[in-house]
Point group: C2
Chain length 347, copies 2
DNA sequence: ATGAAAGCGCTAACAA
DNA sequence: TTGTTAGCGCTTTCAT
């Protein structure tokens, strides 16, 4: 028979007793709140250290804050999200807030489960990265907990938004390719039909930026978008379709580095050389793009800055729930590498 | 002046009133606990649905469980961890448990902050992936919360362990390269000095497996380990050092696909062709290894299985805290791809 | 099978 | 400035 009791955790009462003060005083010290003399603070801190006390975040949450920030991302597979997370982490490192991550998958239902879970756990704020949920749902969440939306366009008075200018980013790619002499520049997009998402999701904005830039460069007739999905497989399939065109493109602009991976795979399979036979560009400037043997021209979104801005906005919103919402839009820049070059057969 | 109140959340009391039952009964229904008639259950469920009630996880945690599982991983940058996470997620999907992730970084201090945070939030259980903390610390954690350690060798009566046989995995690589005719097979390891970790960390076990296999194949004199770090940069630097050897290796076995990325980068820079001039093998069989233009021979650890086993063990431990601890060791398999071939200059 | 009441560890309102 | 006390929303005794 096992009689070993799981040792009871040290509570605020133990600390108060040990320091000969009230729990209120201990609580004030914990929160750096007003109303405790320096001597009291010292005594309490000593007791805390001696007893190895740690406040119970769940219990704190019952009355005050949980000191927990929830970050939802679609998947941990995309290394670009790691950059954003680093930015968030760096900005929150010296605060009392703790970041916990949750994956939202790519459906409204799985996102709902995750965001509900964060709310149920009384998180003090949430950062939602590229969420696919409806506007209404996002506003519902924002009504319940301070919320910052990252990587999804469209404003709301209820939440703050941090985006990178996807419209401009796509234009940068088209401009670059056009300057190299390309005319038949195709684009691989993530298939989307929902009207709100068609306006707000980054992929849709990139596609729109592509269209606009093509027209601006007198290439309206060459606009060629294949809508598959923002995955490696989507890129693979998309490239295969493009290669089957009677007049096949001389350059492929994939909506994400991930997608470009699939494109490169398909091209390798077809025996085509990059960039000699065909140019390829991606988006996100992930480590994969920078990897020398790949050397993918890509659009850099400064994920770290996106993250630190999101953290800043969230902290502001937590302290001023009713403040007007703000939108931060960052400017992307093109990173030219070896995967793009002049078209072999001039058009 | 903003008079809009944040709408009070529906509580168990509201549900009880709405259904004309006691809160106790509602609680029983929530937990599928014994002691509520079918009619009661139906009534309560109806009230829950009508009011859109969701139990407050933080409050539940005060007395019972939080239905939260914490998963700590060193970084979200390594795609291999995503496989493990998928395994965990799949196994927990149909339970009431919710997974929240935390990054532990690569230091004992940052891991401590993260694990403390999970404990403070009263998580029902934690899965620690490749933790670097001391044995004592791991056992301390396990004493406070049901714990499963993944990817770190060494048993403890206090926690369960899931590993893949790194010793065998390393041997598979050496065998393969040796069979191809290689003799000068070098290995890039993560530098480690702590004696416990030297026994328990996967990289150390892989290095040991490499040494053992080299000796077993009569290549004791060719054992050549460069200790840098398990990062892309570590691979890059390690490869540069190996290339500077008077008799340089004909094959490099990198301790992780990530490391192999750096190796390939260095080789490309040095103008060496893979596998014609030099063979390269990795570990983890990530999507990167499978990527056709890279086509990296690698060791598959079946991350999904690792994850689902970890979830299973954790659920068992949560329901039987005092049960003897168990260790699951999975067997790796080699995936041969284009990055390994016969040495050009026979030894 | 059902319900009343205590209490988990903390913070906020109030008193001294 | 300091302490006392009443909850936060649940689950868990313990009656009935």
């Amino acid at each position: 028979m096992d009689t070993s009791q799981p040792p009871r955790r040290v509570t605020i009462i133990d600390v108060a007793r040990h320091a000969n003060v009230s729990t209120t005083t201990v609580s004030k010290v914990l929160r750096n709140a007003y109303g405790a003399s320096p001597e009291m603070r010292a005594k309490v801190r000593e007791a805390i250290a001696e007893l190895g006390y740690r406040p119970d975040a769940a219990a704190r949450g019952m009355r005050g804050q949980t000191y927990t920030i929830g970050v939802m991302l679609p998947t941990i597979r995309n290394p670009f999200f790691a950059d954003i997370l680093d930015g968030l982490t760096d900005r929150l490192r010296d605060t009392d807030y703790q970041i916990l991550l949750g994956t939202g998958g790519d459906g409204e239902d799985t996102e709902e489960r995750m965001t509900d879970a964060m709310i149920d756990r009384r998180m003090d704020g949430v950062v939602l990265i590229a969420p696919v949920s409806s506007r209404a749902r996002l506003e519902q969440i924002a009504g319940l907990v301070p919320t910052v939306i990252v990587g999804r366009h469209g404003n709301s008075p209820l939440y703050d938004v941090v985006t990178d200018d996807d419209f401009v980013g796509a234009a940068l790619v088209v401009e670059h390719l056009s300057a190299l002499g390309h005319r038949r520049i195709a684009h691989i997009d993530h298939s989307e039909t929902d009207p709100t998402r068609l306006l707000e999701m980054p992929n849709a904005v990139r596609a729109e930026g592509y269209r606009h830039a093509m027209r601006a460069h007198g290439l309206a007739d060459e606009i060629d978008i294949v809508a598959t999905s923002y995955t490696q497989e989507g890129g693979y399939i998309g490239a295969q379709r493009l290669l089957a065109r009677p007049r096949r493109p001389t350059a492929i602009f994939a909506g994400a580095d991930f997608v470009a991976m699939g494109v490169l795979e398909a091209l390798a399979e077809a025996g085509l050389k990059v960039p000699e036979d065909i140019s390829v560009a991606g988006y996100d400037n992930t480590t994969f793009a920078a990897f020398a043997p790949v050397s993918l021209t890509s659009v850099d979104q400064a994920g770290h800055q996106i993250g630190s801005n999101a953290a800043r906005l969230l902290l502001e919103r937590i302290s001023h729930r009713q403040a007007p919402s703000s939108q931060v839009k960052l400017t992307p820049k093109l990173v030219v590498r070896g995967s793009t070059g002049r078209p072999s057969v001039p058009d």
